[in-house]
Structure formats: C-alpha cells, structure tokens
Symmetry: C2
Subunit: 156 residues, 2 copies
C-alpha cells in the first residue's frame, strides 16, 4: 500500500521509526517531513499530507505531532481527507469501518511506539463498512463544506 | 460560559445528561440536537455546531457521536472551528493550551459519563498558552485553507 507519513518536530523520532517499520512490511512509504527535531509548525505538515492523499498519491496517511490534535485539525481542513485522531486500536478500526478514514493522527507524547504500531495495523487492515455509513461519509464532502468555504472567503 | 452541544443518535442520551449537568453549573447551554435516538447523520450536527461557534453564538462546543471521530471530522471542515477528539482529560487540556480548541468531540460508545465530564472540565478550565502556539493556530485558518477550498470548488 502507498502510505504517506508526516510529523512536526515533536514526533520526528517516532515518524522515522514507524516509516522504517512500514517499509520493512513492504509498503511504499513517502516521508513528507519534517526532517529534524528543529521546531516547525504542525499545520504545514498536516496540509502536506492532506494534499498528498487528496491528489491520489497515497492511499493512506499517518500524521503525527505531540498530541495528534493539531495535525488532525489541519488534515481535516481538506475536504478530500478524513483524519481520525486515535490513541488505541479500537478507534483506529472504527475510523476505517464507519468513517472511511484515509489518515490517522497519533500523538508522540501521549502514546508509545508499540501502541502506535497497533493503531496503524488496525487502520491498515480494516475495510470500510459502507451501507448507511456511505451517506454520512459523503456528507463530509458535500454540500455544507462548500458553505463553510464560502464563509471563509468572505472573511479572508 | 455559552456552550453549544450537539450529537447524533448514538450519543443522544449522553448529550442530554451532559447538557443538564452543564446547565446546573450555571452555563448557558444551547442544545443543537439531535432530539431522539432515531438514526441521523453525524455530519449534519457537526456542521451545526461549527457554524454556531464560528458565528460567535457560543464560546465552546461539545460534539458527540458514537466514536467522536466522524463528528470531529465534520466540525473541523469549518475554518472557524478547532475540534479535538478526546477520550481523557490530558488531551482535553492540551487541546486548549496548545491548539486553542473551541470544540471537543467525545465518543459515547467509547467513554463513560464520568470520563466525559472530566474531559469537559479540563476543556472548560484551561486557557490557551499563546506564544509559539499562536502562529500555528493562525495557520489553521490561513492560507492553505483557501487553497483546499479552491480545490474543492473545482471538483464540486
């Protein structure tokens, strides 16, 4: 599977560890940065992974920051991304089966590497359940989004 | 404090309990639905609370669905909302201090009522830390958002 991974400085070390682990499993991993522990802004990396996913350049994304909260907000600004911030595998599984999530966000300062791997395994191995969930997932792109964007344009 | 609260059917019962508890504490609570356990679509309630917050009609929002995942994605579609999906108070606190979150999302099928209350207490009582976090929070509204919205308009 083509997997994009991105983080801010707080999660740089965990990102590198997870990227290597995913590559060893045979996945095609694209590391979108950051590239060191120098301080950066998590929204930049959230937008990078959202655009990468929305452009079809990867099937799944893994977004990391200190808590997972900030980068998840950034990823979800993009109507083509559906990002679940998770801290345990049940939520990672539900994010796929109910919400067709294409990105998960993990907090490097809140969970350890083994828990991160368990979340990612659940995320990568669970199929979307479709049916009634499909209508709801569709609403995450239409049409209220357009309204929100229009509102933004007026105030920009 | 003016607090808006919204949920889908899966969290209807918890929403009612939390709304009553918040009102008893003296908060001005606006319940944006849903109004029963009849099946509804969580994005509709996520957009309702995001618009309510963005219009300045409440200072804080509490969004609930079965996992908290879907409604958090919906709320974060709106550039004026910053929603953290949380399952314990530390994340609720970090969401305020680092991300200036104005909405938290809780999963009624994942956490109990006492944990929900502990998350809400942390969320309502923690101030934004500002400083370096201010620049990052500002990026959650500008300018990549505009790019994402433009992209959406092209594909709508």
């Amino acid at each position: 599977m083509r997997i994009a991974i991105a983080s801010d400085h707080a999660a740089f070390s965990l990102k590198r560890e997870l990227a290597q682990w995913l590559a060893e499993q045979g996945h095609e991993v694209t590391d979108l940065g950051s590239d060191s522990e120098a301080s950066v802004d998590y929204p930049d990396y959230g937008y990078a992974i959202a655009n990468h996913i929305a452009e079809g350049r990867a099937e799944r994304g893994i977004a990391l920051c200190g808590s997972g909260i900030g980068i998840a907000i950034a990823v979800n600004r993009h109507p083509g991304a559906r990002c679940a911030q998770v801290a345990e595998p049940l939520s990672a599984r539900l994010a796929r089966s109910h919400n067709d999530a294409n990105v998960i966000a993990l907090g490097a300062r809140l969970i350890g590497a083994d828990m991160a791997r368990a979340c990612i395994e659940a995320f990568l191995s669970t199929a979307f359940a479709g049916e009634r969930h499909q209508r709801r997932v569709a609403k995450l792109s239409h049409p209220a989004i357009a309204g929100a964007c229009a509102m933004k344009a007026e105030t920009a």
